[in-house]
Symmetry: D3
């Protein structure tokens, strides 16, 4: 019997404490890593196929061939989650991450072999979702700030791939924290359009509709996509368009969507309250409907978590 | 007595075989890593201070405070190189890399502590320079290709920091290799200006002068800077300006500069021979002068290396 | 009985002849002024709430807090219009303007107090709409010219706020008048898309639909919005998209919408007739429907005005 | 004997208390105002001709013809300063501002005459320089912040004219004050280059040279130009080039130049100390030399001022 | 009886062998030529009016007045096609091209008359469609490559006019052929959006819809427009939006539309298979429906052609 | 004895009256033509080698291989000029143009051969310079206008090649002629910088120096280059930099340089006089020195020409 959580790494299941990356892996040397992440509700994986599809689309775009198929990946994810869930209690949930890099640059290890002779590094691991990180989102709403740093444009790295060359997000957050240490960076694109935050999609509610930034600038979010489905049920239009800070300031509500906390209200941008600065009714309807769909009271679970 | 090369990792000297990175280190998760690299000539470090200055400038820009001072870093680099040089023979040289990330995201390891409570990950390691990789540069000249992927602009991530969010370079190289598997990507900026390659600065020789792309678009190269010094000795102007593919095609010579191979001739761009497609005299003068300065016949050493 | 029109200025009603601005008011020194304007039909205010909402949105964006509420502003507007309407005859109508600046820079008046200690300057005033200015619009159609000067992009000043830093429009008009002294500047954005004129929104009719430039580049016009409502009644689609000079030249009709003259046909762009260069049927339908809604024959009133 | 300071307004000398602008003047309605400002040292005007030349260049660009010649303007400025200087004591100095707008839009005053029939509004006024505002610059250095708002590009309004459509600066400062209420906005251009602050030019000292942002993005500063002259005397190169935040962070010193306080050290950008965060030697040399040239100890005068 | 095909040139019908252009015609000297092209199915012209409308729109935009009316042009096209069709057999079809330039620059012929005194050069000619050129499109699918060369933006030359200043396409194709000699250039716009190829529109099929690049970047294709009509019949949405290489790689199918071969599947982009790299069902449905509409089995005709 | 001027066309010398281009030549179909032009002074060719070098650089860039060498081209140019000069009198001069296209698209002539099987079309022809066209330049100075149309950026077609895809210049001139029928378009680049006119380089004189727009945006002019040489003799600096309309308006003088008329003063931009609107002294010095160098009084020759 295994007394520890497990990690899938390059074809093997290893104890988490033994899962390491070589210092000369392309993920460390280049940040040339594709990733994706799913979570559980009641210890059941949510929309796993959508996450795997997006992950394999990222890989195809970046020409990094996963050594195992989508079906095999699904199986490993399910098994890892099943195994690792026994280490958390029923009030907790798991996040599960898969990532792939082109592999190790052997030359840095002192080997002068063929540089092209690389094997992808493929890892899958889980972790308990640290709900306490996001409690203030549900209590006061998230705050966003638009820093001077801009989103990387698609002709450099397409934001539709979930990759780990995210220095611009690190830089953006350093600026943002000067304004408010708990705020999240909401980067503008090179033309001044709203894009996304470093960890979530960003939506606004305006004139009975939900607006999403245009697809050229953002990750096609699985949670955002689910909100699209839910808003259809609620009879609310879901519109894709370029919009700017003015639209956010003068919106009815603003929202973050992200795998770990699903959906969160945004109540301030650059220190300015959005509408009255209160959490709004569309957020409440969406999270209610979402909870219903997954059989978990998302807000209560998160707010009551001691983790 | 230590039978193995050593690595500095987070305050400790460890055997290379034990130097690993956690899968939830910011270097893996975000690519938020700063780095630099120096090399030896005759096992003596070359322009170490310039490399350390640039490394600390990168850190300051990205607000990642190295846990040790520049002086301490220098000392460790020198000691590591001294120790690890005993494992190579006298025809070989060492490269030495330092890199830093914001540290481990403990939450992925199952800890729900304060997210801001991170300790930087700081690593210094060496490797024998694999001279065989670059032999064809000295024999036929390097080939460059301008892919459709563009250099990340400075308002996203300033190219003046040596960082490891380099997915765009990975993508660029995938495109470039469709044209010529041995070619190097020479990315244009968003306005169509020449910038740099993924591993080197790019210069052209034109009308008795050397042109470098403007500083907004490139890493301030230590080797390129040394070429500036050498060209002064040769009475050749060194000019910074925006230039385009046309200028490269119609230049007298083109050059790559990079720490491991110092300087290399470029003889083709997008399949078009530069000038006559032959290695040119300015390259020969520069590498001759450089060899003289460091007391090593750089070209011969590289061409005769069996590694 | 008051023998003169009145102005609201900083909490007081004053005779128009006494309404002045200090030479060191921020409106004069910085052009940091927000404004809006409504008009009457038959001396009744039209869509006042929409204008006030837009005005307060502008203020919120620019972080200038009006010293009185939206309700109070409405009341003052109504009273001013009521009072000042007695000085015009029944064939005339009033325009009513409110504007706000951050207030006076006392330092320019010789006071060295706290620079931040500013009281907003808030003014509301009316004027008889000078219908004669626009008669040629209804008789021959307006002419527009695209000058070399470009619309200010939203990452500098969002065109969705109605502000008075309009030097670029002044410059644009100087260029435009070289082509045709009666023409109106239709600025392109930095990418060559049609935006708006200095005093109106710009629409085209094409393939049974009305096209408006995308919201990133224009003021959200109250009149344009009303045309959207009217076009719905007429069964004509109202579409937001980026379009260019080519689309205008090859449209069926083009239109200006603006508070004082409501809607006007555009018959030439850069000297090229739009369609046949004649006033078109969609314009006629829209102004007919508009007249019906407000109980005033807009075209006749304007054409027959002696003012 | 005149008991009050005087203002020149539209051909007349009036007491300051009677100098007002009509609420429908183009300066208020459009922000279509050109301006310039000079100051005294020991009550003597400094480089007046340079300021007047720049003012008349602005007017020519914007096609607003001053109703009086440059020579007449000079005479009025000199007389006003002479007269108004009697109201300050010898430790104080005067700033003198001239501004011009296209004039009053008579239509807003109820006149339906020819819209083109406008007379420019031309005003010249003085004020005692409020030295206390800038004391902290000399004591701790100024702090600058790069907000998300961008400098208006020259194809919209050329920053080489000193105009008063400055809403973008107002917006920039609102963002900047979220980071630090005493900081000054240093706007980037649309490509991420450093430009200027709302009230000064910005220079850096690097590698024994002074760098100024390129002329496309900034006002050609009279003070900055004087620093160019002084740096020539000091044997320091003065270089024009595009540079970025990285260059400022890693400069030796940074400087503001502006008419009222001449030159000031900048010690922080976005919260990061420039060099050691201390006031640097090039600043000290420049202000020393400047003081010598004008026969006033600039730093002492400012620091000792009670105004 | 005429033993040769005919060409319309400047008001005359001439034998093809006598149809020449002066070396100093504006079409040769400036590339200032507008053009359009239609084809036959079963020797009957297809959508001629749409082609002529687009041609006359191009002319209006470029201010080159055709010397004959649209009706006259139609008549000549019909007569030429009727006459020239007798020289091909029934398995072949004709393409018909009309083009216009501002005319001859007489000065190059040694005449110093008025430069403005030019007569447009107007030519209409036909040619048998060389079906063999496109057979591989129907057998393996077309391959597209995105070169570093970008589409000319609409503020330089609007891509909505079909003009013959196409050097950028020539340059793009030279780069593309380095990757694959049979591939077609698919240029990106300056922001990295997909536009069109040098000879066709480009569409993708995604999530049950067909996407076309936005109108700012492409020729409004007559074939693409016909696909819009057909897709409506098939119950497939036809959506205009900016999209990027990622979207093409991860689309279900991609398509070229062009007058000579109507519609073709695209199976690779930058060497990456689109979907499975096989010809897809939407293409098959569209070409089937198209064949039905025109009474010609388009695919068979093309594949069986010996020409 | 030959009674007619001659043209070189595809390997043959033909009488001018027989020099035609096929309607399906790439020069007509694509505008994919490279060209260059030189002129005589006293019937002697001026700087022929510089023109040929530039022509062959253009060809190399566009990958169109001239079928004859540079030496052969020179010989033909010299012979043609020698022969054709006998048809003009001694007060006239010849221009000589060479141009090359990829050749004829045989498919349009009904041949279904290999599309790649093309032979370049290479033509060299002369014409008497029509001096009367430019007389007003020398008498009143040229007038330039900046239209809304922008220069094509180097990532689409590099302006450093002299090519004949010049539709944007045609469009620009149509707009410019609305302002002034004799004015010349001076296109801005996409960022608002001054570039060149459709037929000449554009320079300004400012602060004792001559400024040229930066090389990214313009043809490297042979005449402009000669002015650089002359200005060195005159002790005037020649500086390359981005500049804007403001700089032109406020320059001391502005100049056009072009092969046929060498150098001309510009006295107005957008209707605004440059300096006093008079022809300036630097122009006079330059044309004087130029005349001296070539042994022809350029101004007199041009002004006195009856052609």
């Amino acid at each position: 019997m295994n007394p520890e959580t497990q990690v899938y790494l390059n074809g093997k299941i290893v104890p988490s404490s033994e899962a390491h990356i070589a210092i000369y892996d392309a993920s460390v040397v280049l940040g040339a890593t594709l990733t994706d992440m799913e979570r559980t509700f009641g210890h059941q994986l949510f929309r796993l196929d959508e996450h795997l599809d997006r992950f394999f689309r990222s890989c195809k775009y970046a020409r990094i061939d996963p050594p195992i198929s989508k079906g095999q990946t699904r199986k490993i994810v399910e098994e890892l989650v099943h195994h690792n869930a026994q280490f958390i209690d029923s009030t907790q949930e798991l996040g599960c991450i898969q990532f792939i890099s082109p592999g190790e640059f052997k030359v840095y290890a002192g080997s002068a072999g063929n540089a092209d002779d690389m094997e992808p590094t493929f890892c899958i691991h889980t972790f308990p979702l640290p709900f306490s990180f996001w409690k203030h989102y549900y209590l006061e709403g998230a705050h966003v700030v638009t820093p001077s740093i801009r989103q990387v444009p698609p002709q450099c790295v397409d934001p539709k791939i979930k990759c780990r060359s995210r220095m611009h997000w690190w830089l953006a957050d350093q600026e943002t924290h000067l304004v408010d240490p708990k705020a999240v960076s909401l980067c503008l694109d090179l033309n001044g359009n709203i894009t996304e935050t470093s960890g979530s999609n960003f939506l606004i509610v305006k004139d009975e509709a939900i607006w999403t930034p245009s697809s050229k600038n953002i990750l096609p979010g699985v949670s955002s996509n689910f909100v699209r489905d839910l808003s259809e049920e609620l009879g609310v239009d879901f519109i894709e368009k370029d919009f700017q800070v003015y639209d956010v300031i003068n919106s009815d509500e603003a929202l973050l969507t992200s795998t770990p906390y699903c959906i969160a209200p945004v109540t301030k941008i650059n220190g300015i309250p959005i509408n009255s600065g209160k959490i709004g009714p569309v957020f409440e309807k969406l999270i209610g409907l979402w909870s219903q769909k997954v059989g978990v009271d998302i807000k209560n679970q998160l707010l009551n978590s001691s983790f």
